[in-house]
Amino acid sequence: MSERYSRQELFAPIGEDGQIQIRKASIFILGAGALGSSGAEMLVRAGVGRVTIVDRDIIEWTNLHRQQLYTEQDVIEQLPKAVAAEKRLTAINSDVAVTGIVVDVTQQNVLDLMTGHDLVLDATDNIETRLLANDAALKLGIPFFMGACVGSYGLTFPIGIQDNQPCLHCILETLPSQTLTCDTVGVISPIVVTTAARQVADVLKYITRIPFEPKLESADLWTGDRASIGVASMKKAGCPSCSENAVYPFLSARESMKTAVLCGRDTVQLSWPTSRKFELIPFAESIRGSVSKLIHNPHLVACEYNGHRIVLFRDGRMLVHGTKDVVTARNIAARLLG
């Protein structure tokens, strides 16, 4: 097996020493969807020591065009992504200690889940969880390699690489009311692989101790647009997530989403913190092609989505009818709102 990584070691910036560092690396992958599949496969093939991959979802037919770890049989068996990912990744490289955990990552469990890893690879599908992970990684003092993509467009931003660099909270002045998601505007697999590749290249540089400047970068594979912005000047001196007096607001209950199962109504209520403002008309327009029976008025947007009646109120509450399962409801919210 000694020749297994020879072509990677031949790559001069990594070399035999770099391979030893890769072997020691313990990586937390937040999400086992498209970016998680692609990034995990690259890292496991590269021979990292340990991978923990977490996800709350099961595999569906609509995942197969881009989530490269999964097969038709996984859909038929209704396997959780984390379970199927662990199985496939272990088959790819049995040297790597792979653990798949079926879990909804929240402010209650995020620190416990991430503790003991050297870095976090972002493969989540929504901004709430990214800000939660940003806070958790900063608190634990480990880097967070952000990545996101929809359509033919993706962006990456490695956080916690240098002292004095901005975190995700610094550069997001206000929380977006809604971001584009794969369930509202679709996605093609090339941008998944491209985005994951950029994340993993940065991860490999980090764990082999190659200095690099963390930049916010984007690419659109359909238009050819690309951007690379050095955001160092956006570091905020008083940032609640990364300054000396950080309070990690997204780890606290006040800034996190609240969930409640409404007894006897087969409905879950999700409530966002007041810092997240909702714009109902843009939201309604963005989901028009993905939902049915859409109505909106100054107070709410209502629609049907995957057999669930959904109502979003302007004050930041969403009712998801037809389920008592909080994870299902959060999943639907992430798909529609990002």
């Binding site: 599908d125 901004i127 467009y153 916010l216 912005i229």
Partner: protein, 68 residues
């Protein structure tokens, strides 16, 4: 006057009705999104989006998306 800028690495002919950065974001349907805008290598604060765009300006725009 015709203005040609470099937008996200590509040559871009400015529409006549677009005068400043805010109007460009609107034209690109990014006005409602969270964006970072760099103009001629400087990151623009939100209150500078009324800066006029001139011929040969270099603009990079990165918007945040949810998916993954």
């Amino acid at each position: 006057m015709k203005r040609t800028i470099e937008l996200n690495g590509n040559r871009y002919d400015m529409p006549a009705e677009v005068g400043n950065v805010q109007e460009l974001l609107g034209h690109l349907e990014l006005a409602e999104r969270i964006v970072i805008v760099e103009m001629n290598r400087d990151i623009l604060a939100k209150d500078a989006y009324d800066l006029p765009i001139n011929d040969r300006d270099q603009i990079e725009i990165i918007h945040f998306v949810g998916g993954g």
